[in-house]
Amino acid sequence: DTAVSQTPKYLVTQMGNDKSIKCEQNLGHDTMYWYKQDSKKFLKIMFSYNNKELIINETVPNRFSPKSPDKAHLNLHINSLELGDSAVYFCASSQDGHSPLHFGNGTRLTVT
């Protein structure tokens, strides 16, 4: 049973398109996140949600819009994709926001 699952695993698309990444966790955790990992492996937090409430929005362009329909799901919608959006996006969850993170397998987004 996968604890944190995100789809799709790979996403190749053209500039200007809109795409979504989905994430689900079956750990019963209260807090979920989106992290972006660039080509140099830097892991940067984008958003965090606690019980469906947005806690952190780290100066992410408003083309990125997270949505949490319930505390087990956190999706990421990206409008008007740009070349610089190419990266690996990781979903993660944590029991309470201070406990260790459990990461999904990542979505490798390539914008051409």
Partner: protein, 110 residues
């Protein structure tokens, strides 16, 4: 914002050699966590250190938290090819999120 500096950025060792990565913060940390990311994989939690001067061991891995809680280290004794990956330290921001260090990429030559 808070930043955790991690060094070295990259290290290449021969199998059997030791390896150490260091994290340094300008502020006192409430705790620090360590993660390992295998090539093509996702970060996996290794350990959390909370107390000043704490030392924890996991087989060949030794984790230390500084007395002032501003630095931490991960030491691997007698590296193996299975140790290959990127090691990240991460600090609790106090806002229900972790800020990750820049990572140390370890290559092990068999």
């Amino acid at each position: 914002g808070q930043q955790v500096m991690q060094i070295p950025q990259y290290q290449h060792v021969q199998e059997g050699e030791d390896f150490t990565t260091y994290c340094n913060s300008s502020t006192t940390l409430s705790n620090i966590q360590w993660y390992k990311q295998r090539p093509g994989g996702h970060p996996v939690f290794l350990i959390q250190l909370v107390k000043s001067g704490e030392v924890k061991k996991q087989k060949r891995l030794t984790f230390q938290f500084g007395e002032a809680k501003k630095n931490s280290s991960l030491h691997i004794t007698a590296t193996q090819t299975t140790d290959v990956g990127t090691y990240f330290c991460a600090q609790d921001t106090g806002r229900r999120a972790l800020t990750f260090g820049s990572g140390t990429r370890l290559q092990v030559q068999p």
